[in-house]
């Protein structure tokens, strides 16, 4: 076996998480009863026309930037023609010779060995629907028709299943990190085809390859690579010539099977889609999109620990969820106390849904003692309900911290007079009794008293009693 190596290239399809589909206003997310998330346009009714969703271009370009690609200034959409019942127009709108992104790479590390895997191209295209097979026949569900996809094609730089796995894991991490897809293989929002050929170790030529389609987990991809490599070696050793073909992998039997050979392959009769205009990205567009590209996840983790002085576990929790990390990062740039910000955000279960500006404002109000630490939770609840500005809500809810000593003096006097037992306890040396008195002060000020200030006033008064 050792005298052969595999030459592997991967084609990965990833669904972009845009609000609407690539060519119409239908929602792009999964779910819904069959044929409830489609319209005349994505169902390809006669006379309808596609209109390119600009967000798809933005998302794809951002993915390309994250994967070190060059982004085209001129790009266009082409029609790929073939008949299938899940393809309502009988052509898929895709990109042939002017893809949006080219010449990228991903660096991987397998067992301490660094390797750079080239990315040939990334293009945008529409997804097809799916067939549903029932007892009395088959049906076509068009909900998925027109869901935006990017296809990421790697160079044949991968040699082993372990490298393929590392490449896919890093790809998934980076695309999630840049915030354009959730890349869930189980749910089908990330799919992978494997192109594989073998050659004697030391040979640099490329030989006849097979393509293994429809692999839906990392485990199956790795197993399929090993099984297909073994099959190709067996064939070669047995003196049989390999043919270019499409194969599928059967995990039960752990082997691959022929789906179709090249002579029967479709001629897709690609040509530029006359219903769509070229995609032009200006230098300004490039700059705007470039500004949205985050640091690499590992760079951010290091920054949070070393520069922001967050505990490692806090930093990791933030970086684990790309959306949360992006909100945190944007907010952190507007505050003096990134640690306080992290604590406030992690105390909220849905922190990523709140704009960075709101988090920054809450942090700065707490840091400046304008509101108490108990206030952000109340403010967030009100914000989620009303969407009003935080400053307005602070006033409306009366959450401004009371620092007025005159007022605190009056309240302290009332509290001391009303709680003789606590006063007696304190006098008797039970210092903890001051907490009960503080509680009363907070109750009477609805939680807005400055804690340090109020404690000082109480202590002063108690000392005089």
């Amino acid at each position: 076996m050792a005298k052969y190596e595999s030459v592997i290239g991967l084609e990965v399809h990833i669904e972009l998480r845009t609000k609407t589909k690539i060519f119409c206003d239908c929602p792009a997310d999964h779910g819904g009863d069959p044929n409830t998330r489609c319209c005349p346009v994505c169902m390809g009714m006669p006379g309808t026309l596609p209109v390119l969703n600009k967000q798809v271009v933005d998302f794809a370009a951002r993915a390309g930037m994250m994967l070190n690609c060059e982004i085209a200034h001129f790009s266009k959409m082409d029609r790929k023609n073939y008949f299938y019942p899940d393809l309502p127009k009988a052509y898929q709108i895709s990109q042939l010779d002017h893809p949006l992104c080219e010449h990228g790479y991903i660096d991987i590390n397998v067992n301490g060995e660094e390797k750079r895997i080239g990315i040939t191209r990334i293009h945008i295209e529409e997804d097809a629907g799916k067939l549903v097979h029932m007892e009395n026949g088959s049906g076509a569900d068009c909900n998925r028709c027109g869901v935006p996809l990017i296809e990421i094609v790697s160079e044949p730089d991968i040699r082993t299943a372990a490298q393929a796995k590392a490449y896919l894991e890093r790809l998934r991490e980076l695309v999630r990190w840049v915030g354009v897809s959730d890349c869930q293989m189980e749910a089908g929002s990330m799919r992978c085809d494997v192109n594989l050929s073998i050659r004697p170790v030391g040979d640099s030529n490329l030989y006849t390859r097979s393509e293994i389609k429809n692999l839906n987990s990392l485990k199956h991809i790795c197993a399929a690579i090993d099984a297909e490599k073994a099959r190709q070696i067996d064939e070669t050793e047995a003196g049989r010539e390999l043919v270019q073909e499409t194969r599928r992998y059967d995990p039960e039997k752990d082997r691959t099977y022929t789906m179709r050979v090249k002579e029967n392959a479709n001629d897709y009769r690609y040509f530029p889609d006359p219903d769509l205009v070229p995609i032009i990205l200006t230098d300004e567009d490039h700059a705007r999109l470039r500004a949205m590209i985050p640091d690499l996840p590992e760079e951010r983790l290091e920054k949070y620990i070393n520069e922001y002085k967050l505990p490692e576990s806090t930093a990791k929790t933030l970086c684990d969820e790309p959306k949360l990390a992006n909100v945190y990062q944007a907010a952190a740039e507007q505050v003096q106390q990134p640690k306080l910000l992290a604590n406030l955000m992690l105390a909220d279960a849905a922190a990523a849904e709140i704009p960075a500006g709101v988090w920054a404002e809450l942090t700065n109000l707490c840091a400046a003692n304008k509101i108490n630490r108990s206030a952000p939770a109340k403010l967030l609840e009100a914000y989620r309900e009303s969407g009003k500005e935080i400053a307005v809500l602070v006033t409306e809810l009366g959450l401004e911290q009371v620092q007025d000593t005159g007022m605190l003096n009056t309240i302290a006097d009332e509290v001391l007079a009303a709680n003789p037992k606590a006063v007696a306890d304190y006098k008797a040396g039970k210092e903890a009794a001051i907490k009960a008195l503080m509680g009363q002060v907070m109750k009477r000020t609805k939680g807005t008293a400055n804690p340090q200030e109020a404690t000082a006033v109480l202590k002063e008064k108690l000392a005089k009693l």
């Binding site: 006669p46 006379g47 023609n81 019942p85 127009k89 009769r269 006359p274």
Partner: protein, 480 residues
């Protein structure tokens, strides 16, 4: 039928003065159709209920002061333009019973303007043809002579206007499909600049050529209809974002100093002598009206026909692939697998000419042939666009025949697709260039014992519709 012969301006005046209601006009027009169309065959569907509904809406607009130039005016729609709930067949067996779930942009615009749709007109199947003989559903006769074709593909629309079965009609023009039937039937037909009328809801034949436009009884009416249907539409990516729609603005202005070129390639071999004479007479009339006429040359026009057929068939092969019997339209019976379903449905559902063009289109797009055909044709298209641009540096517009001959007899050319294609030689270059062009009646030719209408064509640079109407109107008023 006292109103049927009237034009839009006359009808509109009667409606505004409350001398007639939209409902009465609709009834009058429907009666005209009932009495005349048996001999013409212009309509595939008469939408009586829809017409009365729209007439009621129009009467309301007239009553509350929101009426415009087209409110209450009865019209006919070519049957490749989607009308919600009204059968839209493209004159094909494939869509014989297809009812769109949405309105085309043009349909919406005309509804909003209060125009009253009487029905849907016959055409060559999927707009492929020049005589309306390729309709899978019926034959349309030329109102000037029942033995002759009305032209095509918008033959039903042109015949309906010429036979006074509507005040105006909407057609579509991919290679001459508005202008040539207008010429054959003796009405005014405009193919506007590509991108000025939304294609949303026009069942696509060749997307980069297709353009919707009006057929009318006179020039001023034509400008008024185009003003109503032309707009930017975000649902059509090729719809232009900004342009002037004041198409009537130059009507009545004199032509002093207007430069008109006569490209000699359009007057050469194959042009019927009477057609050439009538068009040259029209040139003299325009000269009298103040225009400066000059012979010029456009050699690149020789590429037009082959380039057109390669590109439009390529686009059509893809555009018509969706008619596969799966979701709507005709589905073949007695099939055993998916492959058979596709083959049998498409073989039975499409007529000969449509199948021919789909085959041609698939051939030129096949692996290994793309560069030799499709790419080459695109290059020829670019050359032609440049040649037109050069001429429009010197001339405001060009004057040519619309078709080499007057209308021919039904059945005369239908067995010879090459002869049929050559008939498009004068109109096709305009579509390759995305240019506006108008067909204006300029007399009749006596053929086979019938007086057959002939039109001339004015071709202008993009957005020159107002000028084309200006010149066409000057000619029309000098020849009343």
């Amino acid at each position: 039928m006292e109103y049927a012969k009237m034009n839009i301006a006359e009808l509109s005046a009667l409606l505004r003065n409350r001398e007639v209601s939209a409902k009465e006009l609709a009834a009058d027009a429907l009666q005209a159709i009932a009495e005349t169309d048996g001999n013409i065959g212009a309509y595939l569907t008469v939408a009586e209920e829809e017409a009365y509904r729209q007439a009621a809406a129009a009467d309301e607009m007239l009553a509350n002061g929101t009426a415009g130039a087209l409110t209450g005016i009865p019209f006919a729609m070519k049957d490749n333009i989607c009308t919600k709930g009204v059968r839209t067949t493209c004159a094909s067996k494939m869509l014989e019973n297809w009812y769109p779930v949405y309105d085309a942009c043009v349909t919406e615009r005309l509804k909003a303007a209060g125009a009253v749709m009487l029905g849907k007109t016959n055409m060559d199947e999927f707009a492929m043809g020049s005589s309306t003989e390729n309709s899978a559903l019926q034959i349309t006769h030329n109102p000037a002579s029942a033995a002759h074709v009305p032209g095509g593909s918008s033959g039903g629309s042109a015949a309906a206007v010429a036979a006074d079965e509507c005040a105006f009609a909407i057609g579509s023009d991919t290679g001459g499909s508005i202008r040539q039937p207008a010429s054959f039937c003796g009405v005014v037909g405009m193919k506007p600049t590509y991108g000025t009328v939304s294609r949303y809801g026009l069942v696509a034949y060749a997307s980069s050529f297709d353009q919707i436009g009006p057929l009318t009884k006179n020039v001023a009416d034509n400008a008024a209809v185009l003003e109503a249907i032309s707009c930017h539409d975000r649902r059509d990516s090729t719809s232009l974002p900004q342009f002037d729609t004041a198409y009537s603005s130059l009507i009545g202005k004199d032509l002093n100093g207007m430069r008109i070129g006569l490209p000699k390639e359009y007057f050469g071999e194959g042009i019927h002598p009477t057609v050439a004479k009538l068009v040259r007479d029209a040139a003299q009339q325009l000269e009298k009206a103040g225009a400066v006429l000059e012979e010029c040359t456009l050699p690149a026009v020789s590429y037009a026909l082959p380039a057109y057929y390669v590109l439009c068939c390529a686009e059509a092969s893809s555009n018509l692939a969706r008619f596969d019997g799966i979701r709507y339209g005709y589905r073949a019976q007695g099939v055993e697998d998916l492959d058979q379903l596709y083959r049998k449905t498409r073989t039975e559902g499409f007529g000969r000419e449509v199948r021919r063009r789909i085959l041609l289109g698939n051939y030129v797009l096949s692996a290994g042939y793309y560069d030799a055909y499709y790419k080459k044709a695109q290059q020829a298209r670019t050359l032609l666009i440049r040649a037109f641009a050069d001429l429009f540096g010197k001339y405001d517009m060009l004057l040519t025949p619309v078709a080499p001959t007057p209308a021919y007899k039904i059945g005369e050319k239908s067995s010879d697709p090459m002869q049929m294609a050559l008939g498009d030689i004068c109109t096709v270059p305009v579509n390759l260039g995305g240019l506006p062009a108008i067909s204006v009646p300029c007399g009749t030719a006596e053929e086979d014992g019938a007086n057959l209408p002939v039109g001339f064509q004015l071709i202008g640079p993009a957005f020159s519709e107002a000028k084309l109407y200006q010149a066409a109107y000057a000619y029309e008023s000098a020849n009343k």
